[in-house]
């Protein structure tokens, strides 16, 4: 029985060596995909986003505010002379936001008329819009309050009392994990597993699909030992994709200044279980019709949208019932959730068991797959 497993393993490695396509699927393409993603987010925090300023006021206050905005690492000021110029720039995405100082702005502030300072933000690009909004708020609020402090100084003649009159409540903001709003950590810990699971399922389907297409299945399954042979064939992919999984995890961990609250062993087990489950799913999808191309289409529908359902770019508690259901059906969503809990909260093996159970439960489809393969051999 072990002999059959070993033979199948060797057979598969030979098949892979013969095919540049299969070598690409296992090594070159995953590397390229991962490389593109990590490179896109290498500037980990968004910086120098262009922001338009139209200053009809030209006072010390408006110039001070503009200078403060430009000094922020997140924003870069581009000046416009007319509103039309500025709005056109917004529409063509030359700037992502706009600050407009009306004529007489400073005068109104000084005479306590409390004028509006209009801030336009391009919210079509939500992530970028939110980044700009919060960066601007951080810069503008002190000016807002500062004016108040100055006014109160006249009354109170004591800076402490003046401050407390202006800002009766201070907020001490403590952020756990991801202090620097680091997109890299946040997004790559979801995007990389999403790509990884596509490769696992596709590679397995290609392995079986090409074998059946080339009519090599009869020879492969001759003289029995169906299960060990299937496992041997899958073992190559198991090794490769477990290595990829552990690899990208270590990579993310190294980029996070080696901060990992929990035990990396917990995640290595998760990687193994996830690879096993997706391999089972891949074989199962192929055996639904033994149609190479069609099973790839099925795999595409199941694996391609996964990223959106992970609850990383859009929170889980905001999703509807169907979305939550579909999410539960994806092993990668449980994997990603566990990854964040282990790396941030330090979840241990005991707390990970629930996740392990959810992930490995999908491998039960292998039973159906084996049954169908055996039935086809008999036919």
């Amino acid at each position: 029985m072990f002999r059959a497993f070993l033979d199948a393993f060797v057979y598969e490695t030979e098949e892979i060596k013969k095919s540049f396509y299969k070598i690409s699927l296992l090594f070159i393409l995953p590397f390229l995909s991962f490389f593109i993603i990590v490179t896109i987010f290498q500037n980990r925090v968004s910086s120098e986003l262009p922001l338009g300023v139209v200053d009809f006021d030209n006072s010390k206050l408006s110039r001070d505010i503009t200078f403060a905005i430009n000094s922020s690492p997140t924003l870069k000021v581009i000046n416009f002379h007319t509103k039309k110029e500025a709005f056109d720039a917004l529409k063509s995405s030359k700037v992502y936001g706009l600050v407009v100082f009306k004529s007489g702005f400073f005068k109104d502030v000084a005479t306590r008329k409390e004028p509006n300072l209009d801030v336009f933000v391009n919210s079509q690009y939500i992530l970028i819009g939110k980044t700009i909004e919060s960066a601007l708020m951080e810069i503008l609020l002190p000016f807002d309050v500062g004016i108040d402090v100055a006014k109160n100084m006249i009354k109170e003649k004591n800076i402490l009392k003046a401050v407390s009159k202006s800002v009766p409540i201070r907020v001490e903001n403590v952020v756990f994990f991801n202090k620097d709003k680091d997109y890299f950590l946040f997004l790559t810990s979801a995007i990389l597993p999403s790509i990884w699971q596509i490769f696992i399922v596709v590679s397995v389907i290609v392995s079986f699909g090409s074998m059946y297409k080339e009519k090599k299945d009869k020879d492969f399954f001759s003289n029995g030992f169906v299960v060990p042979k299937i496992l041997g064939k899958l073992f190559v992919y198991f090794l490769v994709f477990t290595l990829w999984g552990v690899g990208f995890m270590f990579y993310i961990y190294s980029k996070n200044d080696y901060y990992f609250a929990g035990d990396i062993g917990v995640m290595i087990v998760a990687v193994v279980l996830t690879v096993v489950s997706y391999e089972a799913i891949g074989v199962f999808l192929f055996t639904t019709g033994f149609d190479y191309a069609r099973s790839l289409s099925l795999a595409a529908v199941y694996t391609a949208p996964a990223f959106a359902f992970l609850g990383v770019t859009f929170p889980v508690y905001g999703m509807g019932d169907f979305a939550l259901f579909f999410r539960e059906m994806l092993p990668v969503s449980h994997f990603t959730e566990l990854f964040i809990k282990v790396s941030n909260f330090g979840y241990g093996f005991d707390e990970a068991i629930g996740f392990y159970m959810k992930i490995i439960s999908f491998s039960v489809v292998m039973i159906f797959a084996v049954f169908r393969i055996k039935r086809r051999i008999k036919a």
Partner: protein, 376 residues
């Protein structure tokens, strides 16, 4: 083969191939339904946060009540920081607020009490919401406090109201008023889906053609083959374009402010570029089963290199070059500007011309590849 014979040949093989049909009919409709699912709730409400009140004064209870009444937040009481942190760990709350002892007293005595806000930034898009909601509430409270305090000094309410801040920061969210994720993602993703499914469909068709040609070298005219596939896939996907933008956008409540004629012209340019890439892609595939995986793997890298999630300014230029090989980069960029942001056609001129140029280049590539096939 004559053009008519070529066309029927292509037509027959396209629609008798289950994989192609599944992709270009089932796939498009399925993705139309599936992709927007996570974002259907347009705004996110009921963010669970914990609150620890060490003051227990009338004011602190008012603050709690005010926070709880906002639709964005849902409050849960905790007795101390440790149990609140455990609450975060167990995913019961995403953040917590601590109101210190003597909070109300400090405010009355002109001392600035400090509120502690602990936020789980693992999912940091949530952070923005919490902070926003909290700040709004605190500022409102701040104003009310000042009014209450100052009234005791016999100032008129109007004087006091003006006293509160120097200027009003008036934030106007353009193009997507409610910061709706649906509005943000769907217009771009639908265009990408059209391109990817077209690529897969034409890839399977082209790969299948190459496989059949290898077995029995029939005579064919590359130009006829190319035009036949352009017509077959072009008609189907032109229909899909209209379906997505017409019915699809209305169905999901997505804004449409583009000029229909301009959108149509731009859509045709995008279609031409995608058809050409599909044709070229199909011509270089040895096997039809190569199509789906290759296109699948490019999807996520493409989504992020286009510049609507992660800004162009932060994407390295060589990654942008990778994205420029695909019509989706110019297509999505131009389409978002035209239809969601109300740009004029001149503003998307570069995208338009690039799409047509790209279409011509890939057309030429497909022609050359197919001609080489005959020569062998």
């Amino acid at each position: 083969m004559s053009f008519k014979e070529t066309f029927f040949y292509e037509f027959k093989h396209t629609f008798s191939d289950i994989a192609v049909v599944l992709t270009i009919i089932g796939g498009v409709l399925l993705y139309f339904f599936l992709y927007p699912q996570p974002y259907l709730n347009k705004t996110i409400n009921d963010l669970k946060i914990g609150i620890i009140d060490f003051d227990n004064s009338k004011l602190s209870r008012e603050l709690k009540f005010m926070l709880d009444s906002t639709s964005e937040l849902k409050l849960y009481g905790y007795t101390d920081k440790k149990s609140a942190l455990q609450g975060i760990r167990e995913d019961k709350i995403k953040a917590f607020i601590v109101i210190p002892k003597n909070f109300a007293k400090d405010i009355a005595n002109h001392k600035s009490p400090q509120i502690y806000l602990g936020v789980d930034n693992s999912y940091f898009l949530i952070f923005g919401t919490v902070l926003e909601g909290f700040l709004k509430s605190v500022m409102t409270d701040l104003i009310q406090q000042k009014v209450a305090y100052s009234l005791s000094e016999n100032e008129s309410v109007y004087e006091v109201a003006k006293d509160v801040s120097g200027f009003n920061i008036n934030v106007i969210n353009l193009y997507n008023k409610d910061n709706s994720y649906l509005q943000y993602v769907i217009p771009a993703v639908f265009i990408l889906i059209l391109q990817q499914t077209m690529l897969i469909g034409m890839g399977i068709a082209g790969g299948g053609f190459n496989e059949r040609y290898k077995k029995s070298r029939f005579v064919f005219n590359p130009i006829y083959t190319i035009f036949s596939r352009y017509i077959i896939f072009g008609v189907i996907f032109a229909f899909y374009l209209l379906f997505y933008i017409g019915f699809g956008f209305d169905f999901y409540g997505i804004n449409k402010i583009g000029n229909p004629l301009e959108l149509f012209a731009f859509g045709m340019a995008f279609l031409f570029a995608s058809l050409s890439l599909g044709m070229f892609f199909g011509s270089i595939l040895k096997e039809r089963e190569l199509a789906t995986p290759l296109v699948l793997f490019s999807s996520l890298p493409l989504v992020f290199s286009i510049g609507f999630i992660w800004p162009n300014e932060s994407i390295p230029f060589y990654i942008k070059i990778f994205s420029y090989f695909f019509p989706s980069s110019f297509g999505i960029d131009g389409f978002l500007k035209l239809n969601q942001m109300g740009a004029s056609f001149e503003m998307v001129g570069f995208d338009f011309v690039s799409l047509i140029g790209m279409g011509a280049v890939y057309f030429a590539g497909a022609y050359i590849k197919l001609s080489l096939l005959i020569k062998k």
